[in-house]
Symmetry: C2
Subunit: 318 residues, 2 copies
């Protein structure tokens, strides 16, 4: 577990300085056709165009580059089926230390290939949370590597916060920012950046209705785990963490769910009209804004497109 | 035919000012994975992210907005199966004048839908150049509209030149810029901008080997028409024009051909690694640079990604 305090203004600005040489400053794009459909002005922060194809590169680089080199000299480790695995492998490669990744054996070939590209050492396990945690413990004992959790870690959260920080720098007068929520790393970082750098900007979360643990936790005011999540948005099936949930409760205005059909339609709309590749988890936020357009009519909305790692041989509309 | 002189420095800068409110300033993106493959530093000017999905919006807006309103008050017209048709329709819509588009009856549904989105009035014809020109003449007589040729028009060329102008502004120390060549509007505009704004930057063209009329014309030093072109790069099947060829002869360093297999591989590489959607015509330039990497090793290369209009139901690798 992380010994750092919850990131404040200084920690987020330090993270931005620390990661700058190792990440892309991603563009903020607009699309008049989508604005017309949504009845609002949308500014898309394109983290799908980020290194390793997702915002996860921000947190992973910030974590690996902020820890004491002595603590991580044996390497870093995590369990992840997705973008954090590739991002952490890449960050470790930049520091010339090993990355040990526990992946469920049913992980997509594309994600496995991405981890290998960045030199991550993969251990496969049965695809249950218990098996993942147990296998990771074995790996940690064997390698003496340092665990870097995908989201329940303040260095990760401070890194993810820099996406919203850049969006706010580029577009200072947003009425709201919408981020998708899975474990809550991106969402809590976004909420912290809005709080510190653009306090008039509200933060909303979008979540798949088939994996609505954050919605349930938010409204029942207690942690509700994600049980048997069923959604195409594979990045958003995880449960909130003990560090992310309190920030979300305190600083997020609302969490709104959306079904997978709307998400697939929004994903295809972005591909067709914006000519950029986003994964389903990225499309959830736009799907929510379009479905609830009466609520956001005429507003200036920032949407964080979280990632673009898609198997191009298997598209959801084919 | 155009009565203007060949665009000089002033005409290109005026075009940039004229079109600025109506187009995107597209981002210049980099990708370390592709740099590694190519053995060079590549700066991608993303005209696939342009309005209407292609650089053609630049020339179309510049033409429609630079002509005397009296001359075009009955509307504008062209024959095109592709991106110029949509771009001209959009430019005319901005000016509240009609756009009459002659399209071959075998045009892709996606391109037909794009023209309709922007209010273009379509007349279909048999898919031969003769039929297209004859049908366009009928339309011009009937409507009294003003013809705006897709590339053999100096206002169009000046507009297309602004893509390279922006690339040079963002990245002033390029060794070379590579553009694809079909009719030569983008290539001649790119060559003019490099000549006036970055004279140390060379301009290379990439052309499909199955439609190598520009290559043949360049080396035989006389106009050679495109006869039975056979390439997946549907935007590059046209012949050079009487206005574009002289500029290309004078200012382009070389034209290099590449086969469709390499183009499809380069297209998939950009989708996978950069998470942006480009059409085959856009991939020809990168394919050429990768195939001829020994020639460009270690150099700083600008590549103009010309467009991103693809039928997402029919991808060339599926």
């Amino acid at each position: 577990m992380d010994k750092n305090p919850e990131p404040g203004r200084d920690e987020i600005l330090q993270a931005a300085d620390r990661i700058r040489p190792h990440i892309h400053r991603t563009p903020v794009l607009t699309c008049s056709a989508i604005d017309h459909i949504a009845g609002a002005s949308i500014f898309f922060k394109c983290e799908n165009l980020q290194k390793a194809g997702a915002f996860k590169s921000r947190g992973a680089v910030n974590a690996v580059f902020s820890y004491d080199p002595y603590d991580i000299k044996q390497g870093v480790a995590t369990h992840s089926s997705g973008n954090h695995a590739a991002a952490l492998s890449r960050a470790a490669q930049l520091k010339h230390i090993p990355a040990y990744i526990v992946m469920p054996e049913n992980s997509s070939k594309v994600k496995i290939a991405a981890v290998k590209t960045y030199g991550g050492k993969i251990t496969f396990c049965v695809p249950t949370l218990e098996a993942r945690e147990q296998k990771l413990n074995e790996v940690l004992i064997e390698t003496n590597a340092f665990e870097i959790h995908p989201y329940n870690n303040y260095s990760i959260i401070a890194g993810q916060a820099t996406a919203a920080l850049e969006l706010i720098e580029d577009q200072p007068d947003l009425d709201l920012i919408v981020a998708p929520v899975g474990g809550g790393g991106l969402l809590s970082g976004t909420a912290l950046s809005a709080h510190y750098f653009s306090p008039a900007t509200k933060v909303f979360a979008a979540e798949p209705s088939g994996a609505d643990d954050a919605y349930q936790s938010f409204y029942q005011k207690k942690f509700m785990p994600s049980i048997n999540p069923d959604t195409i948005a594979d990045g958003l099936r995880t449960s909130l963490g003990s560090l992310t949930f309190p920030i979300i409760r305190r600083l997020v205005s609302d969490i709104i769910t959306v079904n997978d059909q709307a998400t697939i339609e929004a994903m295809k709309l972005v591909w067709e009209r914006m000519k950029i590749i986003i994964e389903p988890s990225s499309a959830v936020a736009l799907a929510m804004v379009i479905r609830h357009k009466h609520r956001f009519a005429g507003q200036k909305i920032g949407i964080i497109l979280s990632g673009g790692n898609v198997d191009l041989m298997h598209l959801p509309w084919m």
